[in-house]
């Protein structure tokens, strides 16, 4: 069929790109994960030893759980901050909407490293925040835990990924008909009740997308924990990096990468499944008689 041919031709570049740039390297890693290393050369004999090592290791399991917890924690924090912000931009601002959205994205133009080092200036022992606290007399010693701690990691990760959450929620809130909010108010709902019973359910598809996006990005972020997390800065991603670099154990690194991928995919899949089965997901999905 002519149409089918046209469609195939149109899809080809995208398909080729995805296969070559994304699927092929992953496939290669998958193959490598079944090999082993003999001093400096890779032995191409199939073995499950790498997976056994990863799954049997308390350290690696803890690192994967940590990645998931950081992902979930930062996703929750960004959502809590982004909802009021996105609501304000979508429903209260008229003229300066584009300007505000752009302003929110400005930090993204500066690059990861710059932003992370900026936070080191803010949170460090001689940093802006500690100096200020000492000047106020709240403390006479700098609070070391501000930087190089899980706290610092959470703060910087939340800051870094907030724009993604705001953008996704803003799109959902922009599409939310104001009449629903008025109807809820008309029926006696307070502001909190309007949020819990109308805004949250009706923007929940956007929230799910935002949460999953931030979750996956944070779970794979190794630069931020490494640079501001101090002793707590070891992540599963940095472990994988070490396997490919310093340790020259590509097979084990590949196995780690695939276990992480499987764990994240499981969390994402479970989240989508639970949402589609929830009353909100069902109601919004109902179409036609």
């Amino acid at each position: 069929m002519h149409r089918a041919l046209t469609r195939a031709v149109l899809v080809l570049p995208t398909a080729a790109y995805v296969v070559l740039v994304c699927a092929a390297p992953l496939g290669l890693l998958f193959v490598y994960s079944f090999y082993s290393v003999d001093f400096v050369s890779i032995v191409k004999e199939v073995t499950l030893a790498n997976y056994a090592l990863v799954l049997g290791s308390e350290t690696y399991r803890a690192l994967i759980v940590k990645a998931i917890l950081y992902g979930a924690g930062v996703a929750a924090l960004t959502a809590a901050i982004a909802y009021p912000l996105a609501f304000f931009i979508a429903k209260r601002v008229r003229v300066y909407k584009a300007a505000l959205l752009t302003a929110m994205l400005v930090p993204l133009y500066t690059g990861d490293l710059i932003r992370i080092f900026a936070w080191r200036v803010v949170l460090g022992a001689e940093g802006v925040l500690n100096s200020f606290l000492q000047w106020l007399g709240i403390t006479d010693q700098p609070i070391w835990a501000l930087l190089f701690s899980p706290f610092a990691t959470m703060v910087v990760l939340t800051y870094n990924y907030l724009p993604f959450m705001v953008l996704v929620l803003w799109v959902s809130l922009e599409a939310l008909d104001r009449a629903y909010l008025e109807a809820a108010m008309d029926l006696g709902a307070s502001r909190t009740q309007i949020f819990m019973r109308v805004i949250l359910p009706l923007t929940s598809p956007g929230l799910v997308v935002g949460v999953l996006m931030v979750f996956v990005l944070v779970a794979g972020d190794y630069l931020t924990p490494q640079l501001v997390g101090g002793g707590s800065g070891v992540t599963i991603t940095s472990a994988i990096y070490d396997m490919f670099g310093a340790a020259f154990d590509w097979p084990l690194g590949s196995a780690l990468a695939w276990v992480l991928l499987a764990a994240l995919a499981a969390v994402v899949g479970l989240a989508i499944f639970l949402f589609s089965r929830s009353p909100w997901g069902r109601g919004l999905g109902a179409r036609g008689a």
């Binding site: 108010m185 008309d186 109308v198 008689a289």
Partner: protein, 373 residues
């Protein structure tokens, strides 16, 4: 809720009073000083062209627009500063605004649950309300699974189930096709009688306003231009805007030369004509002669005492139940409604007569753009 018997209230005190209501949006004056009362238990319609301020007025009562100036009271209680969620009114929105994530049952239960009524009471009242609009079999459906008319009924139940003092309806039939709209008009009127609740209805459709209402408030450019029963508004328009907007009467501009109780004489391009006059006409006022198309007589059958003119027919328009004839008399276009069997064609010269008992002199003249001055 305690519902006093209608007799006890007895119309002595109005349910809602509006005094000098004004609404500005920046420099735009949407409502410019409006006074009216709403009776307990009645169907009142605010009728006017788009942009006349009728929806703004309804939204001020609902609590979605602030009051720039003036007083709004329900049973003597001022509404200014009271948030929408604390007002004893409920709104049926133009596009229904049914919550898409909730079933029909949960939509109707929304307001009752917020009041923390127990499960059994909520259930009884929701089912009762849905039974009133014959939608009790659809409780488990989502709004997207309903037709327009069904959504309309659910939106109505969701509002009146809360037993508001006033039910506000913002052009609720606008999205329905003509047949469904006629059907819902009958249902709405019937519903209002059965509930014994005051309905305040907003529409730009005069036919709808007449079919439904006990009392009609006509608005134009932010002001009330006339209020009364549908019959009074139709038969005794007060001014040129109302005469034109309601059923498109024929209007001839002129000047009042004589005015006495209920009678007036107008000097106009057709000559000096005496007719019933609107209240408050004074000599020297600019005014219009008004006659409805169905009262204009064509041909020789004119009754004695009617002013007669020679006219030339420009158009004959088939309207279904009648034909409308557009004729020119001294450069003035006049519309007349005649039966199909009257054989007339464009170009014919006919005698056109205006029976005096149907002539009326009203305030103001119509500007070229349709707004009255």
């Amino acid at each position: 809720m305690n519902d006093p018997a209608p007799e006890a209230v007895g119309g002595a005190r109005p349910l809602l009073t509006a005094r000098g209501l004004v609404k500005h949006y920046g420099a735009v004056e949407a409502v410019r000083g409006v006074d009216f009362d709403l009776p307990d238990n009645g169907f009142v319609t605010i009728l006017g062209p788009s942009g006349c301020g009728k929806t703004t007025l309804l939204r001020m009562i609902g609590g979605f627009e602030s009051i720039t100036e003036g007083d709004l009271e329900i049973e003597g209680r001022a509404l200014a500063g009271v948030m929408a969620n604390h007002r004893p009114v409920n709104t049926v929105f133009q596009n229904y605004a049914l919550f898409p994530h909730l079933t029909v049952f949960d939509n109707v239960a929304f307001g009752l649950r917020l009041r923390r009524l127990d499960r059994a009471t909520v259930r009884d009242r929701v089912i009762g309300a849905l039974r009133t609009v014959r939608m009790e079999s659809m409780v488990a459906r989502y709004p997207s699974q309903l037709s327009g008319g069904q959504q309309q009924r659910v939106a109505l139940s969701r509002a009146f189930v809360n037993q508001p003092r006033i039910l506000l309806l913002d052009e609720p039939l606008g999205a329905l096709d003509l047949k469904m709209r006629r059907h819902m008009q009958v249902e709405l009127k019937d519903l209002q009688r059965r509930l014994g609740m005051t309905f305040l209805y907003v529409t730009h459709d005069q036919e709808e306003a007449f079919a439904l209402s006990d009392w009609v408030i006509v608005m134009n450019a932010g002001r009330i231009v006339q209020q009364g029963t549908p019959a009074a508004i139709y038969h005794a328009p007060d001014n040129a805007f109302v005469a034109d907007f309601i059923g498109g009467a024929n209007l001839v501009a002129g000047t009042v030369v004589e005015a006495a109780a209920g009678r007036a004489v107008l000097e106009c391009p057709l000559g000096r004509l005496a007719a019933t006059g609107a209240d408050g006409l004074r000599v020297g006022d600019s005014a219009s002669l008004c006659i409805r198309a169905e009262h204009v007589a064509i041909g020789d059958g004119a009754a004695a005492g009617a002013a007669s003119f020679a006219g030339r027919i420009d158009h004959v328009v088939f309207r279904g139940d009648t034909n409308t004839i557009v004729a020119t008399v001294d450069g003035w276009a006049i519309e007349a409604r005649v039966d199909h069997d009257v054989a007339l064609a464009p170009g014919d010269t006919v005698s056109i007569s205006l029976p005096e008992q149907h002539l009326r002199i009203v305030h103001g003249v119509l500007a070229a753009d349709g707004a009255d001055r």
